[in-house]
């Protein structure tokens, strides 16, 4: 009986290792694709990257609080930056998805700052934005990368609110009804756990 449990556990571990390998393969494949794009300037290579990343970048930008039309436009601009900047990509520093994430994020920030500058002059009443994405976390949680999925919910939640909803620490504190210091300490804990996990399992 004990033996059976042990072999089941070994089976589960092996399966987890396989999933991890598979994810690493996907990561490496896109990083290789982006690296080769820089050399070849091959539009087919670019199309492959586009098919995979554009719909994800669009989903990310919408979560950041953009309208679908603006998200579509910003995604195009982000993907155009991928083409223009591919030769600056260095796979020893970041995976393709991390690099493309930072490009998309910068597009969002630039756009939001331009819009906010206008907003300050004309403050408007708006539906409570805190309620907008309510209930979507559960779906997302099932789709998280392993390391992030292993975090306690309170820590995963603050990461989501930062990365997926573009909320500042003060906004998160207000939304969750906790002190600013607690938001920061949750983020710090999450960060050190992820670093430890990724340290054993490097991105590149």
């Amino acid at each position: 009986m004990v033996k059976k449990e042990e072999s089941e556990e070994a089976g589960v571990n092996a399966a987890a290792a396989l999933v991890e390998d598979k994810k690493k393969q996907i990561r490496d494949e896109w990083s290789a694709c982006l690296t080769s794009l820089a050399e070849t300037r091959d539009k087919l290579e670019f199309s492959r990257l586009y098919e995979y990343f554009a719909p994800r970048v669009k989903a990310y930008i919408i979560r950041f609080g953009m309208s679908p039309a603006a998200a579509e436009e910003l995604t195009q601009e982000s993907m155009l930056s991928v083409w223009r900047k591919a030769h600056l990509y260095n796979r020893s520093k970041a995976s393709a998805s991390t690099w493309i994430f930072t490009l998309a994020r910068n597009q969002c920030i630039d756009r939001l700052r331009r819009e906010k500058a206008v907003e300050y002059e004309l403050p408007e009443e708006e539906a409570d934005p805190d309620q907008r994405h309510y209930g979507e976390h559960a779906v997302l949680e099932q789709r998280m990368e392993d390391a992030i999925a292993k975090l306690p919910e309170a820590q995963a939640q603050v990461l989501y609110l930062s990365y997926y909803e573009g909320k500042s620490h003060s906004e998160i504190a207000e939304q969750l009804g906790i002190p600013l210091g607690s938001v920061k300490s949750r983020l710090r804990l999450a960060f050190s756990k992820l670093k430890a996990h990724w340290g054993e399992n490097s991105e590149n």
Partner: protein, 215 residues
Amino acid sequence: MKISHHFDDATLIAYSSGTLTKGMALLVESHLEMCEHCMEQVQTSNRIGGDLLRQIEPLPMKSGSLDQLLGMLDSVETESLSEIAAPVTSEVPRSLAHYIGDDLDKIEWKTMGLGVQQYDLKLGGIGAARLLRIQPGVSVPHHTHTANELTLILRGSYVDELGRFQVGDVADLDDQLEHQPIVDTQQECICFIATDAPLKFSGIVGKLVQPFIGL
């Protein structure tokens, strides 16, 4: 340059997730130019975003989007290599030099009295971003912060309750701390300060100084 004070990880997460104010993001970028340690940390905090991007439920693009973009590729220029970091040669990090020029002595400082001068970057939006120039021996009034305040030392040094801060160091403070920086050498101290809310000065001197500083 030996840097001994770095950002809080929570601040780097806010930087990576794009949620810092413009001034605070500019300050983070300025420090990253000088600090390999924080640069490595940012690679990790960016990676959280990259992982989330792979995991997100994709939303299809409008049909024809790819073709539209492919049609544009031949006419766009690739980004020039000047983006690749050159070593910092001036006292002013390149990201910051874009706003204030690369010579701290040519800035149009405004005197606030009590041995302190300031220059407001006027970035707009939430919070404040400014340079402070503090004469030797001067202490900035005791103050707390309603939210977050980042400081990057560009020239000289100061000491406060947390220790000694020299060129390249950052102080990453929030509402938990009340501090009183004092310039501790014969050299003036110039620092770049970015906040996401006004500062609160405590005590009578603070009340006097507050209107002048307007932070």
